[in-house]
């Protein structure tokens, strides 16, 4: 008989504890973010699609070595370059040298697995992960990024 009443009272008491917890939660501030109206800032370690890094002149740091293209297991990077002659002063005399300038850097994000091998293989710190996460579309073509174009848009 004692156990019977003990059961009832301890059960009721545990119910009261549960109610008090939810009652206190009721008056606490909301922790969610109403997404389309407000967004939270992405953390630095977020791995979005890759992005070209610019140098001081606003041009891409990339020297078109093609390491990223070769490192990519999914083959989603394609880049092209042309050589440009430029003059440089070496020991008092002018010399003509050639260097490669990036003309095209396309990323096919539909097949990218975000492994990050391209970023680690780059010896010139020319590519990084972007913070972009608002990526949704009904068309495949929207995920063929022209990264050179994106860089120019960012600078303008």
């Amino acid at each position: 008989m004692g156990a019977y009443f003990n059961d009832i009272f301890s059960g009721l008491w545990s119910l009261c504890i549960g109610l008090s917890i939810t009652f206190r939660e009721f008056f606490k501030p909301v922790v969610t973010v109403p997404y389309p109206y407000k967004t939270i800032k992405m953390c630095k370690r977020y791995r979005g699609h890759i992005e070209l890094i610019e140098n001081e002149e606003g041009k891409p740091k990339c020297i078109s070595c093609g390491m990223c293209q070769r490192a990519c297991p999914s083959g989603c990077i394609s880049l092209a370059s042309k050589s440009v002659a430029y003059e440089v002063e070496v020991k008092g005399e002018m010399k003509t040298k050639k260097k490669k300038v990036l003309t095209k850097y396309n990323l096919d994000f539909t097949t990218c697995s975000l492994c990050g091998l391209c970023v680690t293989s780059c010896n010139f710190d020319a590519i990084t992960f972007s913070q972009e996460y608002n990526l949704v579309s009904t068309r495949k073509e929207d995920f063929h990024f022209d990264l050179l174009n994106r860089l120019q848009e960012r600078n303008s």
Partner: protein, 328 residues
Amino acid sequence: MSLTILNVLAAVVAAIAFAALNAAYLVWAERRGAGRIQRRPGPNVNGPFGLLQPPCDGIKLMTKQLMIPGGADKALFMVAPVLTMIPAIASFVTIPFSNTIVAHSMNVGVLMVIGFASLGGMAILFAGWGSRNKYSVMASVRSVSQAISYEVPLFITALTVVLITGTLNLHEMASIQAGGFWNWNITPSLSSPLMPVSFLIFFICILAETNRAPFDLGEAESELVAGFHTEYGSMGFGLFFMAEYAHIVIGTSLITILFLGGWGCPFGLYPGVWWFLIKIYFLIFSFILIRWTFPRTTIYGLLNLSWKVLIPITLFNLLLTAGLLKVF
């Protein structure tokens, strides 16, 4: 048209309007409350504080097609949602919202409200049986066994209150408790020392009668899809939903009248309909808090609670009260 028919029509329209408005905005309150308890805002996009959400839901429900599943019993299937709504509306007739606002003060008020409340179980049985769906049948069988086992302590507790007040008329019952909370039935007196326990049991039984969580075995989503209204769409489902909330309003009104002094103020100041509304909405808030706090019980736990705990205690309380009333 004679005046009495006009009176009746006015009462019916008022009852339906009150029930529909309450159902619509209690859904909103439920969702907002659930949101706050889970630390999220709840519906807040349509209108200020999401207040236009219920009309949007209503339009959505009304514009959908009412589908009758093949093999269903058409008559039962169509009658069930109506049958669940009728007792919900009819019960409003005898509930006194204040000293003057009552459609018809009946001498058997308590009996009528409780009788109509148990009619709701039949509608659930019809809905489950008529839709030819194994989940619906399971859910309605559970609901009916639950209703039967919780009506017993509910009636016995109501009988205890009837013994103390000496009347079945809800209006008189509330009038007797006027003056302040020391006159309310919930406060223990010399002749009825166990009234707080009775109140608690009555509260639990109303919770079970209205099929609210943690006793919502009739629509246990995790095991029975959506329970007895699995096959219902459109306004058929809408009526079940409205009736559920109308039953909650009636249940809380009954608790208020039987135990919390009806329209009386706790300190005897300005008695009126506002006190009645404050009390029922406070009780509804506690219903919402309970729903979002406790997990669903099992069918065995539910029946054990009723037959092994509630019924013995209520019977003891009834005998004790009857004896003490004879003594004092």
